[in-house]
Symmetry: C2
Subunit: 234 residues, 2 copies
């Protein structure tokens, strides 16, 4: 996932840099989900004092990548199926509303950019048909553009600043390379159409269905896995 969080500013302080490294390590699974974090050990590994490490940990906690308990310590968050489904439900609510606001607040110029981006993805897709990677990049890119297009700082901060770190973590941990590439592309087209029509209600509806479809796709996979496990046991 090459695209970076579009809302973050350049890391100036060392705590910022360590935060980014740790964030990467957690999202990519180099630090095991659910594992305990030892402050002295991490501080030694990154060659910083515990103070600046704790500063970095605070930022990780801010985007829900770790959990802290007083006098006990920090743990990397656990990636559970329930948590994943909860995340999608939250995304459905927030990104649905962001999409509605985007239809109301995006400038014509911004809409033009999104349309040309989609056209370019169409080319990529035709070129590398079936390869999900570009489409996944495009997916993230598309969603970011819609969120930023809401022009609602509260929504932007919540989704880009917090939620999407968790989304990326779940994607890596569960190895989710969306197999819905072509279908997602069509759904994106329709959403952009609704936005350029300034139809907020339809835009929200379509975005919610788009995310709900991903969630149901996951639920189906889980159900199949469970069925397979069950047949093994017999």
């Amino acid at each position: 996932m090459l695209l970076q969080n579009p809302t973050k500013q350049a890391a100036v302080t060392t705590a910022d840099k360590v935060f980014e490294q740790l964030q990467h390590a957690i999202v990519e699974g180099e630090m095991a989900a659910g594992s305990k974090i030892s402050e002295p050990e991490l501080a030694k590994r990154y060659e910083i004092s515990r103070s600046t490490l704790r500063e970095a940990l605070n930022r990780l906690e801010k985007c829900h990548l770790i959990e802290r308990k007083a006098n006990i310590g920090s743990r990397v968050v656990d990636c559970t199926i329930e948590g994943l489904l909860e995340l999608y439900i939250t995304r459905e609510a927030l990104e649905g509303m962001a999409c509605r606001q985007a239809a109301l607040n995006m400038t014509d110029e911004e809409i033009g950019h999104m349309q040309s981006m989609l056209a370019q993805h169409a080319g990529d897709k035709a070129l590398q048909d079936g390869v999900a990677y570009y489409q996944e990049e495009g997916d993230v890119d598309f969603h970011y553009k819609v969120i930023l297009g809401s022009h609602n700082q509260q929504l932007i901060n919540l989704i880009c600043g917090q939620l999407y770190h968790l989304v990326r973590m779940y994607r890596c941990q569960f190895g989710m390379h969306s197999p819905r590439a072509t279908r997602a592309f069509t759904e994106h087209s329709n959403i952009i159409q609704a936005i350029s029509d300034r139809d907020g209600e339809l835009a929200e509806l379509l975005m919610r269905r788009h995310i709900a479809a991903s969630r149901k796709n996951i639920e189906n996979k889980i159900a199949l896995q469970k069925a397979a496990q069950h047949s093994e046991e017999i």
Copy 2:
């Protein structure tokens, strides 16, 4: 506002206690919105070291009550009308979804509690007709119960752990003692009915309208104020 955040745990560490005091001070307006925060000064006032003060500041930043810039410092968040409207839009999205999930996931027992709570509020209302205070308490109480009823930890954390601190701050700063008491009561009744009918779609719709009505109520007030200002100038 007597009701406390139902998701928080008891403050054990001194940073926790200072965080709560600062939170109160910011929400109630004792620390002016938009004002700069001096770490040495605050540390001296609360008789703690800068380290533990910074720990407390990190928590304030987590619930969006202050904003920090690297090498520059912290400021209490500014309460703008745009920010208030953004907050209501975000609430509409999140609490609407929470209400839908509540309709799906609340236990019969939880629903029973909510119904009896509403009945009690009806008594209070009949007793002190027109006095908004109890109703406002009841309003917060009602919304908390619905959110917790979603049984979605992600939604609960976002709304109760972060958004509602800002909501309370705006309410204090703008002196908003809802004049929609009786109307809000009816809306609450209908929402609970939808939940007990397990009608998620209707429950979400009603909750969104309930919050949107508050937002529009504010927008109208603002418009009236602006009109009055304008006529003064002439």
